[in-house]
Symmetry: C2
DNA sequence: AAAATTATTGCAACTGCTTGCACCAACAAC
DNA sequence: GTTGTTGGTGCAAGCAGTTGCAATAATTTT
Protein backbone atom coordinates (compact mmCIF):
# COMPACT_ATOMS: atom_id res chain seq x y z
CA UNK A 1 0.00 0.00 0.00
CA UNK A 2 1.34 3.43 -0.98
CA UNK A 3 1.81 6.48 1.21
CA UNK A 4 -1.40 8.07 -0.05
CA UNK A 5 -3.64 5.21 0.98
CA UNK A 6 -1.86 4.87 4.31
CA UNK A 7 -2.49 8.54 5.05
CA UNK A 8 -6.12 8.22 4.09
CA UNK A 9 -6.52 4.98 6.03
CA UNK A 10 -5.24 6.65 9.19
CA UNK A 11 -7.70 9.48 8.86
CA UNK A 12 -5.37 12.12 7.46
CA UNK A 13 -6.74 14.28 4.64
CA UNK A 14 -5.45 13.53 1.21
CA UNK A 15 -4.77 17.00 -0.13
CA UNK A 16 -3.28 17.77 -3.55
CA UNK A 17 -0.22 19.19 -1.79
CA UNK A 18 0.39 15.96 0.10
CA UNK A 19 -0.09 13.89 -3.04
CA UNK A 20 2.41 16.05 -4.89
CA UNK A 21 4.97 15.79 -2.09
CA UNK A 22 4.64 12.01 -2.05
CA UNK A 23 4.97 11.83 -5.83
CA UNK A 24 8.03 14.08 -5.86
CA UNK A 25 9.57 12.00 -3.10
CA UNK A 26 9.09 8.73 -4.96
CA UNK A 27 10.05 10.17 -8.32
CA UNK A 28 13.36 11.69 -7.24
CA UNK A 29 16.47 9.68 -6.52
CA UNK A 30 17.01 8.72 -2.91
CA UNK A 31 18.45 11.36 -0.56
CA UNK A 32 16.19 14.17 -1.73
CA UNK A 33 16.16 17.46 0.16
CA UNK A 34 13.02 19.36 1.13
CA UNK A 35 14.09 22.17 -1.18
CA UNK A 36 14.27 19.77 -4.13
CA UNK A 37 10.83 18.40 -3.38
CA UNK A 38 9.52 21.94 -3.02
CA UNK A 39 10.93 22.90 -6.43
CA UNK A 40 9.15 19.99 -8.07
CA UNK A 41 5.86 20.64 -6.31
CA UNK A 42 6.01 24.35 -7.10
CA UNK A 43 6.45 23.61 -10.81
CA UNK A 44 3.05 21.92 -10.77
CA UNK A 45 1.30 24.26 -8.33
CA UNK A 46 2.97 27.67 -7.95
CA UNK A 47 1.05 28.64 -4.81
CA UNK A 48 2.61 25.75 -2.90
CA UNK A 49 4.53 26.71 0.20
CA UNK A 50 7.70 25.19 1.57
CA UNK A 51 6.31 24.91 5.09
CA UNK A 52 3.66 22.55 3.78
CA UNK A 53 6.43 20.43 2.29
CA UNK A 54 8.22 20.32 5.65
CA UNK A 55 4.99 19.55 7.47
CA UNK A 56 4.16 16.71 5.10
CA UNK A 57 7.64 15.22 5.42
CA UNK A 58 7.36 15.49 9.20
CA UNK A 59 4.06 13.58 9.10
CA UNK A 60 5.39 10.87 6.78
CA UNK A 61 8.37 10.54 9.11
CA UNK A 62 6.18 10.07 12.19
CA UNK A 63 4.27 7.36 10.35
CA UNK A 64 7.49 5.62 9.38
CA UNK A 65 6.89 6.20 5.66
CA UNK A 66 10.08 8.20 5.11
CA UNK A 67 13.39 8.44 6.91
CA UNK A 68 15.34 11.60 7.52
CA UNK A 69 19.13 11.65 7.46
CA UNK A 70 21.77 14.31 7.91
CA UNK A 71 24.55 13.40 5.50
CA UNK A 72 26.68 16.33 6.54
CA UNK A 73 25.98 18.90 3.86
CA UNK A 74 23.88 21.69 5.31
CA UNK A 75 20.49 20.13 4.62
CA UNK A 76 18.60 17.08 5.73
CA UNK A 77 17.77 14.33 3.19
CA UNK A 78 14.64 12.22 2.87
CA UNK A 79 14.21 8.64 1.70
CA UNK A 80 10.95 6.70 1.18
CA UNK A 81 10.78 3.64 3.43
CA UNK A 82 9.34 1.61 0.50
CA UNK A 83 12.67 1.80 -1.26
CA UNK A 84 14.27 -0.28 1.48
CA UNK A 85 16.49 0.31 4.48
CA UNK A 86 20.22 0.82 4.61
CA UNK A 87 22.76 3.10 6.28
CA UNK A 88 25.75 5.19 5.26
CA UNK A 89 29.34 5.82 6.19
CA UNK A 90 30.25 9.44 5.51
CA UNK A 91 33.91 10.49 5.23
CA UNK A 92 34.31 13.97 6.61
CA UNK A 93 37.64 14.39 4.87
CA UNK A 94 36.70 13.67 1.23
CA UNK A 95 32.91 13.61 1.52
CA UNK A 96 32.60 10.09 0.14
CA UNK A 97 29.40 8.25 1.07
CA UNK A 98 29.59 4.48 1.44
CA UNK A 99 26.46 2.31 1.59
CA UNK A 100 26.04 0.07 4.58
CA UNK A 101 23.52 -2.77 4.62
CA UNK A 102 20.84 -2.75 7.30
CA UNK A 103 22.39 -5.87 8.80
CA UNK A 104 25.55 -4.03 9.83
CA UNK A 105 23.67 -2.55 12.77
CA UNK A 106 21.69 -5.64 13.82
CA UNK A 107 24.25 -6.60 16.45
CA UNK A 108 24.12 -3.14 18.01
CA UNK A 109 20.33 -3.18 17.98
CA UNK A 110 20.32 -6.50 19.78
CA UNK A 111 22.79 -5.30 22.39
CA UNK A 112 20.77 -2.17 23.15
CA UNK A 113 17.57 -4.15 23.28
CA UNK A 114 19.01 -6.86 25.54
CA UNK A 115 21.13 -4.73 27.88
CA UNK A 116 19.04 -1.57 28.05
CA UNK A 117 15.58 -2.69 26.93
CA UNK A 118 15.91 0.18 24.47
CA UNK A 119 14.41 -0.18 21.00
CA UNK A 120 16.65 1.91 18.76
CA UNK A 121 15.17 3.50 15.68
CA UNK A 122 18.01 2.92 13.24
CA UNK A 123 16.48 3.08 9.78
CA UNK A 124 18.79 5.28 7.76
CA UNK A 125 21.74 6.23 9.90
CA UNK A 126 24.76 8.27 8.82
CA UNK A 127 27.98 7.40 10.62
CA UNK A 128 30.76 9.96 10.22
CA UNK A 129 34.43 9.12 10.15
CA UNK A 130 37.42 8.67 7.87
CA UNK A 131 37.34 6.38 4.83
CA UNK A 132 40.10 3.97 3.81
CA UNK A 133 41.58 6.36 1.22
CA UNK A 134 41.79 9.25 3.67
CA UNK A 135 43.45 7.37 6.53
CA UNK A 136 47.09 7.76 5.55
CA UNK B 1 47.14 19.92 28.88
CA UNK B 2 44.12 22.20 28.71
CA UNK B 3 42.36 23.53 25.64
CA UNK B 4 44.08 26.90 25.91
CA UNK B 5 47.59 25.50 25.75
CA UNK B 6 46.63 23.10 22.95
CA UNK B 7 45.32 26.00 20.89
CA UNK B 8 48.44 28.03 21.52
CA UNK B 9 50.70 25.06 20.82
CA UNK B 10 49.08 24.50 17.44
CA UNK B 11 49.63 28.12 16.44
CA UNK B 12 46.13 29.44 17.05
CA UNK B 13 45.84 32.83 18.73
CA UNK B 14 44.82 32.80 22.34
CA UNK B 15 42.25 35.58 22.40
CA UNK B 16 40.21 36.61 25.45
CA UNK B 17 37.07 35.47 23.63
CA UNK B 18 38.44 31.96 23.12
CA UNK B 19 39.60 31.75 26.72
CA UNK B 20 36.16 32.78 27.93
CA UNK B 21 34.43 30.22 25.70
CA UNK B 22 36.71 27.45 26.99
CA UNK B 23 36.13 28.50 30.60
CA UNK B 24 32.36 28.63 30.15
CA UNK B 25 32.46 25.22 28.49
CA UNK B 26 34.39 23.62 31.34
CA UNK B 27 32.46 25.42 34.05
CA UNK B 28 29.00 24.46 32.86
CA UNK B 29 27.54 21.01 33.24
CA UNK B 30 27.96 18.67 30.29
CA UNK B 31 25.59 19.12 27.33
CA UNK B 32 25.89 22.91 27.15
CA UNK B 33 24.38 24.76 24.23
CA UNK B 34 26.11 27.54 22.30
CA UNK B 35 23.49 29.97 23.56
CA UNK B 36 24.29 29.09 27.19
CA UNK B 37 27.99 29.59 26.59
CA UNK B 38 27.24 32.87 24.85
CA UNK B 39 25.18 34.10 27.82
CA UNK B 40 28.06 33.37 30.20
CA UNK B 41 30.67 34.98 27.98
CA UNK B 42 28.52 38.04 27.39
CA UNK B 43 28.12 38.56 31.14
CA UNK B 44 31.89 39.05 31.35
CA UNK B 45 32.37 40.87 28.05
CA UNK B 46 29.22 42.49 26.65
CA UNK B 47 30.68 43.12 23.18
CA UNK B 48 31.09 39.39 22.61
CA UNK B 49 29.30 38.00 19.60
CA UNK B 50 27.57 34.67 19.21
CA UNK B 51 29.26 33.92 15.90
CA UNK B 52 32.60 34.00 17.70
CA UNK B 53 31.24 31.42 20.14
CA UNK B 54 30.14 29.20 17.26
CA UNK B 55 33.47 29.65 15.47
CA UNK B 56 35.41 28.77 18.63
CA UNK B 57 33.30 25.67 19.24
CA UNK B 58 33.81 24.67 15.60
CA UNK B 59 37.57 24.99 16.03
CA UNK B 60 37.63 23.02 19.30
CA UNK B 61 35.54 20.37 17.58
CA UNK B 62 37.96 20.06 14.65
CA UNK B 63 40.80 19.63 17.13
CA UNK B 64 38.91 16.94 19.00
CA UNK B 65 38.70 19.03 22.18
CA UNK B 66 34.91 19.09 22.30
CA UNK B 67 32.20 16.88 20.91
CA UNK B 68 28.94 18.07 19.42
CA UNK B 69 25.73 16.12 19.86
CA UNK B 70 22.14 16.60 18.79
CA UNK B 71 20.02 15.29 21.63
CA UNK B 72 16.80 16.06 19.83
CA UNK B 73 15.74 19.34 21.36
CA UNK B 74 16.18 22.07 18.79
CA UNK B 75 19.79 22.93 19.63
CA UNK B 76 23.13 21.19 19.46
CA UNK B 77 24.99 20.42 22.71
CA UNK B 78 28.71 20.57 23.43
CA UNK B 79 30.83 18.46 25.75
CA UNK B 80 34.54 18.88 26.58
CA UNK B 81 36.56 15.81 25.58
CA UNK B 82 38.50 16.06 28.85
CA UNK B 83 35.42 15.05 30.79
CA UNK B 84 35.44 11.63 29.17
CA UNK B 85 33.60 9.84 26.40
CA UNK B 86 30.21 8.20 26.48
CA UNK B 87 27.06 8.02 24.39
CA UNK B 88 23.34 8.41 24.91
CA UNK B 89 20.07 6.67 24.20
CA UNK B 90 17.31 9.21 23.64
CA UNK B 91 13.67 8.20 23.91
CA UNK B 92 11.62 10.19 21.44
CA UNK B 93 8.40 9.38 23.25
CA UNK B 94 9.18 10.59 26.77
CA UNK B 95 12.44 12.45 26.12
CA UNK B 96 14.40 10.38 28.64
CA UNK B 97 18.18 10.32 28.10
CA UNK B 98 20.05 7.18 29.13
CA UNK B 99 23.84 7.10 29.42
CA UNK B 100 25.70 4.55 27.38
CA UNK B 101 29.34 3.65 28.09
CA UNK B 102 31.86 4.14 25.30
CA UNK B 103 32.36 0.39 25.18
CA UNK B 104 28.83 -0.22 23.91
CA UNK B 105 29.96 0.85 20.45
CA UNK B 106 33.36 -0.85 20.37
CA UNK B 107 31.99 -3.88 18.54
CA UNK B 108 30.45 -1.69 15.83
CA UNK B 109 33.66 0.28 15.48
CA UNK B 110 35.61 -2.93 14.98
CA UNK B 111 33.16 -4.21 12.38
CA UNK B 112 33.29 -1.01 10.36
CA UNK B 113 37.05 -0.89 10.61
CA UNK B 114 37.51 -4.53 9.62
CA UNK B 115 34.85 -4.85 6.92
CA UNK B 116 34.96 -1.36 5.41
CA UNK B 117 38.34 -0.01 6.49
CA UNK B 118 36.29 2.90 7.79
CA UNK B 119 37.37 4.66 10.98
CA UNK B 120 34.16 5.89 12.57
CA UNK B 121 34.22 8.99 14.70
CA UNK B 122 31.89 7.92 17.48
CA UNK B 123 32.72 10.08 20.46
CA UNK B 124 29.40 11.28 21.81
CA UNK B 125 26.65 9.68 19.80
CA UNK B 126 22.91 10.05 20.40
CA UNK B 127 20.85 7.04 19.37
CA UNK B 128 17.13 7.68 19.14
CA UNK B 129 14.47 5.12 19.88
CA UNK B 130 11.94 4.02 22.47
CA UNK B 131 12.88 3.36 26.09
CA UNK B 132 11.70 0.40 28.18
CA UNK B 133 8.93 2.37 29.88
CA UNK B 134 7.48 3.62 26.59
CA UNK B 135 7.38 0.29 24.78
CA UNK B 136 3.99 -0.96 25.96
C1' DA C 1 59.37 50.08 20.68
C1' DA C 2 57.22 50.71 16.27
C1' DA C 3 55.72 48.82 12.03
C1' DA C 4 54.09 45.04 9.35
C1' DT C 5 51.49 40.85 8.94
C1' DT C 6 47.59 38.13 9.12
C1' DA C 7 44.36 35.51 12.15
C1' DT C 8 40.25 36.69 14.50
C1' DT C 9 36.32 39.45 15.61
C1' DG C 10 31.79 41.96 15.25
C1' DC C 11 28.29 42.91 12.44
C1' DA C 12 24.70 42.25 9.25
C1' DA C 13 22.80 39.46 5.99
C1' DC C 14 21.57 34.96 4.94
C1' DT C 15 20.25 29.71 5.20
C1' DG C 16 17.45 25.78 6.50
C1' DC C 17 13.81 24.87 9.10
C1' DT C 18 9.81 25.85 12.43
C1' DT C 19 5.69 28.06 14.24
C1' DG C 20 1.42 31.06 15.28
C1' DC C 21 -2.42 32.41 13.17
C1' DA C 22 -6.15 33.60 10.00
C1' DC C 23 -8.20 31.66 6.07
C1' DC C 24 -9.54 27.67 3.31
C1' DA C 25 -10.94 23.20 1.63
C1' DA C 26 -11.48 18.01 2.54
C1' DC C 27 -14.56 15.06 4.29
C1' DA C 28 -18.78 13.80 6.92
C1' DA C 29 -23.42 14.60 8.40
C1' DC C 30 -27.68 15.70 6.95
C1' DG D 1 -26.22 18.88 -3.01
C1' DT D 2 -25.72 22.05 1.03
C1' DT D 3 -23.95 22.87 5.44
C1' DG D 4 -20.81 22.33 9.21
C1' DT D 5 -16.71 20.79 11.33
C1' DT D 6 -12.01 20.62 11.75
C1' DG D 7 -7.58 19.54 9.82
C1' DG D 8 -4.45 21.66 6.50
C1' DT D 9 -2.44 25.57 4.02
C1' DG D 10 -0.12 29.99 3.07
C1' DC D 11 2.01 33.64 4.92
C1' DA D 12 5.04 36.17 7.74
C1' DA D 13 7.82 36.17 11.58
C1' DG D 14 11.05 33.68 14.28
C1' DC D 15 15.00 30.48 15.61
C1' DA D 16 19.58 28.08 15.46
C1' DG D 17 23.46 28.35 13.05
C1' DT D 18 26.62 30.13 9.05
C1' DT D 19 29.13 33.37 6.15
C1' DG D 20 31.27 37.59 3.67
C1' DC D 21 33.57 41.43 4.76
C1' DA D 22 35.74 45.40 6.81
C1' DA D 23 37.80 46.64 11.17
C1' DT D 24 40.72 45.08 14.90
C1' DA D 25 44.21 42.99 17.68
C1' DA D 26 47.64 39.03 18.54
C1' DT D 27 51.96 37.92 17.08
C1' DT D 28 56.21 38.45 14.15
C1' DT D 29 59.70 41.22 12.04
C1' DT D 30 62.44 45.04 12.04
MN1 LIG E 1 20.54 6.15 1.73
MN1 LIG F 1 26.84 13.19 27.30
ZN1 LIG G 1 37.54 10.01 2.58
ZN1 LIG H 1 10.55 6.85 26.94
Amino acid sequence: MGCDQTLKGLGYRLTPQRIMVVEALHGADEHVSAEEIYTQVKARYPYANISTVYRTLELLKELGLVTETDLGDGRVRYHPAEKGHHHHLVCHKCGKIIDLPESALFHLEETLSRDYRFQPDLKHLAIFGVCADCQK
